[in-house]
Amino acid sequence: MSDQDGLSQLLTFEYAAVYGYGLASAVLATAVPPAQAALALAVAGLQTHHDRRDALTQRIVAAGGTPPPGDAAYRYPRPDGAAAALALIADIEDSVAAACHDVLGRLDRGSLRTEVATFLGNAATTAARARLLSGAGPARATTAFPGGA
């Protein structure tokens, strides 16, 4: 897999992440009782994925490629409360981690792999935080092989 293909594959997951984080943020912003820590996690995550989406797009274009288009909507259920919003965030990050793991196994050797490993670490950390915030203990909030089996 070329670096361009790897960037494109990651970009498709970033579109979905931005969409899902938008849903989660909206629900958490109006949650009763207030879910401040969860909202902070959602807002930071939304920013991270928004920025990464733009950065990946720019890099694909700068290298002469055409970024894959995003979809108008994704099949994420609208969360019906703070717990569901945190579960959605964990799901989004799990899918990003799995995508990174997959791309790492197909990219040629090079520095893009280091970046993708950084994305994987960020996704695993955020997923664990979302589960911890929803009350799971470390045994259920974390996994020995994030993104992989």
């Binding site: 997959d102 790492l104 792999r113 993708v116 664990a128 092989f145």
Partner: protein, 176 residues
Amino acid sequence: MTLRPGLHSPTRRTHLAGPGVPTRREVLAGTLLLALAACSDGNATDNGSSPDDDALRRRAAADEQRLLAAYAATAARHPALAGTLAVPWQQHREHAARLAESPRGSSGPSTAAPTAPPVPANASAAVRALATLERSVATTRRNACAAAGRGLAPLLGTLAAAELVHADVLLGGGEV
């Protein structure tokens, strides 16, 4: 690289010999093609593991043993931390087992027992020291990811991510 005198005199002569004899530039181009061909060969075997991968895997396994030794030493010094350490410690055992599976059937990781680092007397300082070690190993693995074969790179990336999570959980999820 040492200079090979034999390379110089023939190329000098080609300039004198004129057309029909490879010029210095053509010889260099040929050498470059050979080098590129060698690189392609390397990529062709990228899917499997290589001697380099064996070294990276051994390094990762040795780091895993270091982490296990650090957890054991910390637990021994601070029994009250047992609950905090349990999950990351168990996951490190799983990592060590995975790294011991060699795809080439060669010998497993070095069995030399690592020496545990000194454990701070203060429990929270001891936890911070473990988190620092986790992050340092995560950085090593993330960097190794760039050089590994395609079979090993995802595992190194996953292990690096797991260690960042461990550090985060140990520190209470308060720091990125």
